[in-house]
Symmetry: D2
Subunit: 290 residues, 4 copies
């Protein structure tokens, strides 16, 4: 397994991890910029992705999309195919939800990212979304990785909840090896013994991934904590640790959300957070463009 | 086990966790300030503790202590009794090291913190140190907790590497229940499946502990990562997540360090980090006093 | 999350876990028998599945299949689509391997089990295999679970390497809810901090799953340890803990195996193990039929 | 960290792990026998240790001690100093309990094992107990390890709940290096993400420890599961995996136990288990002497 040599006190940040050939960073300045419509991930800009966990209705989607856009989000998130633990939980609006995705893109002019779990749905979803998410539960799903490696849309690849850094990089390597270099890595919490948070956000993954790999790295503080009030703290920590962006769940009525209401920020709290993040980005030598 | 209710979207930050009676935060403004000589932990100030993992010699200690003081550290760390995995590893200078602690306090006028593992050594160490550390491997050592509960020195309590937040708070409760309210909590990384870092720094522990408990919370990014180059990133993340301070390993010759050289910052890198932290503290509404 | 009440000292073994409706055991004697050709899993018989990790060639397959059949295996395992961490590792013979599966079934008259990762391959694979495996990395792949829920072949569902017992049962529930009740659960090791084994075999999962659920439960000691010499010990432990069967990797030339040679038993060691297991089964009130 | 080479298909079981010098097994037949009064751990005999979690009263102790003796236990367990998570939980009868230990030894002629946490109590406890237990929470407590290394009583060393196999062996090495070779290792469950059991019993630790080390290895299925009904299954699994003994919590009135009632077997269930274990031991080429 990969372990950098901690006794080496030279700043050789580019030796990487040789079994990984394509996503491995080879020079100190090598960085991939992933473009999602006007938003650029991996450069100086910090890009905030926000929106509901699941798309529930036209009204819900419009209310949330408008508010996160006003607050400065550059990409809208919204699940239509939901990977739920129980078959009795809401599974998303599925194919129907795709129409809403297309509609909201036009309404708000925000690009949208949504998860695909089934390779047979990929072509269809690509007609409605600007960025394809591979969720944590499918990070090891190699047929799906191979499939998104062949599309011409950027991919948001979430770390598996029990995936090592090495396995995460190899999952990205599957996609890039098939020809799609537009991959954004997302740390979203790993499974540990600690139960007072839904997952344990692995903050160290950010500098480690950015040292080893030239792809942009973002963080999901909503799944990483499972608790709305913790999201601002983890968002700031992620930026301070060098993240290139965040993906945040926002809901205007979390108590009635069909999925993950407990980890969704109210729009007004998201606005407050964005103001704080802008100041923080500046200190880090970055910026949040609107 | 403790889990806050994530569906409650009110800001009731003070309901705490009732089985914990004394270290439980009861009002929104309740905060304990722990004073170590002139340094105040838990208020507006961010306090940086720095120094070698182990005290090795007068020369080593002087070189490192001078440099961290110049860079703005307010408390000096230095181990004399070392809890090592192998009995064949350097176990610290032990009783001899205590004289060096007293000497360096006078030389630099920095207060010192050092670890005690054996309750029979506590009285002796208290004559030489300003703050007593209970290490991760002894967080569950209740006789030791009861003992430091009876001294009149502040205690730096590190989270056990497999301790839940609940267990960590109960360990602090043991100390406070015996009469010593001057306890600082330290998140230092938990044990998970990920092996590319020595431990996984649980960044979520910071807001969680600060919500539940009125004691100051600091972070050890050196043990939390095991890699010197990651320390600046984790230090900044910790401050952004609301930490009241940091404890950082610094060594002027890490390649020859008798313990943990791989995770020790060079003095010049520590200086650079301090400058960055000062700016970050300001954005967070805090400050690093010198 | 599910936790049985340990303070209840009555033998009410059938209260189950209500959110799980179909795979939940409702009476003390309720048990599903899953039939794979002549082999019956979940009854008195203990069924041993054995064979190579991956099918590599006709010669390799024949040599191993003959030997495991002679030793008493009732079902042959053999991967053709392999979920590998690295895209540069051997990915299995893929579609070509299916012909070999059909061929060996006729040659040996052993039923075969093989893994499917891609729902688009399921129909094809069903023409060649007697039992479909859903691997650990796809336990959360709900489109795939829904798909195997609609076939008329038994399914071998492996526990995700970070799946809780509750999540594992819900994954089975997905399949059964779609109409396929022929599901066998397989504990194969979970990811923990311990690195001297590939995974940590969760032996407690066996009695827990058998208490909560009416489906047969088998164990994979090969992946559970990653080390061939440990396989006999874990196999015996699994039987003693109440497992209904085992799935064991056997290779006649492990040093040259294209996948997982280090955890494959030599045929002669597998024979010795089978003899031991027969005696052990008897003491447990079970038997290994040939 | 230690990882045996799984690709080596020779039976070189004795190469050990060189940084560990004393507890390292050097020849295939090297085994230490630890004698506790008449009981011999590490030979052909399987030794069952049983008794209450905590000693609560003369009546309780007598009732339980008599019953476990009648069922075939060779050593009596009983805690007097209890390492509890909360300072508000029952902490054991402490010094008073020691008199009961001495009394019950004479009454039943069973040797007793009890936990010591404080090195200052060791001399006193040695006057009342036949074997000294170092609990999971103190496995890393090196002053205590050094201290029990200097007594002339056998030591029962429990694995830390987050200790790797390597760290566990090093803890034993501390004791043996100080001169006490009478050490028994005890696997008692590790901390993982799974919450439906109190800890995850690491069954693989048994063959691994026995391969690497010449000390006897026993298992604690009570703490390993936290649930009484699971204890028989885990006990059988432990024996099948090669354990040299078991330590089992038994209570005649678990609903009123002051500690860990939920994981304590009723005496009549312990009797049934002992009968099953005797048959199982025989198949394993071992025996349970009475």
């Amino acid at each position: 397994m990969f372990t950098p040599d901690p006794t080496d006190h030279q700043e050789n940040l580019c030796n990487g991890y040789p079994p990984i050939k394509l996503v491995n960073r080879k020079t100190e300045t090598e960085r991939t910029i992933v473009k999602v419509a006007g938003a650029e991930l991996g450069g100086t800009d910090i890009v905030i992705i926000a929106g509901p966990c699941s798309i529930e209705s036209k009204e819900q989607l419009k209310a949330i999309a408008d508010s996160v856009k006003n607050s400065g989000a550059r990409i809208l998130r919204g699940g239509v195919y939901k990977p739920r633990t129980s078959p009795y939980s809401f599974q998303g609006l599925r194919d129907e939800g795709l129409q809403l995705l297309s509609w909201i893109r036009k309404e708000t002019r925000l690009p949208v990212v949504t998860e695909v779990m089934d390779p047979r749905k990929l072509e269809l979803v690509c007609q409605h979304a600007d960025m394809i998410q591979i969720g944590s539960r499918n990070m090891h799903n190699t047929p799906l990785l191979n499939e998104v490696g062949q599309i011409r849309k950027p991919v948001l690849l979430k770390r598996g909840m029990a995936a090592t850094i090495e396995e995460f990089l190899f999952a990205a390597e599957y996609i890039v090896k098939m020809g799609n270099e537009q991959v954004v890595l997302c740390e979203r919490g790993i499974r540990t013994f600690e139960t007072s948070t839904r997952f344990t956000l692995d903050i160290s993954a950010i500098p480690l991934l950015k040292r080893l790999c030239h792809l942009p790295v973002i963080v999901d503080p909503s799944h990483g904590s499972g608790q709305w009030w913790m999201v601002p703290w983890l968002s700031k920590a992620a930026l301070a640790a060098g993240a290139d962006g965040l993906i945040i769940e926002v809901h205007h009525d979390p108590a009635r959300a069909l999925c993950d209401g407990g980890q969704s920020l109210l729009p007004e709290k998201f606005q407050v957070l964005m103001d704080e993040l802008k100041k923080l980005a500046e200190v880090m030598g970055r910026k949040i463009s609107v």
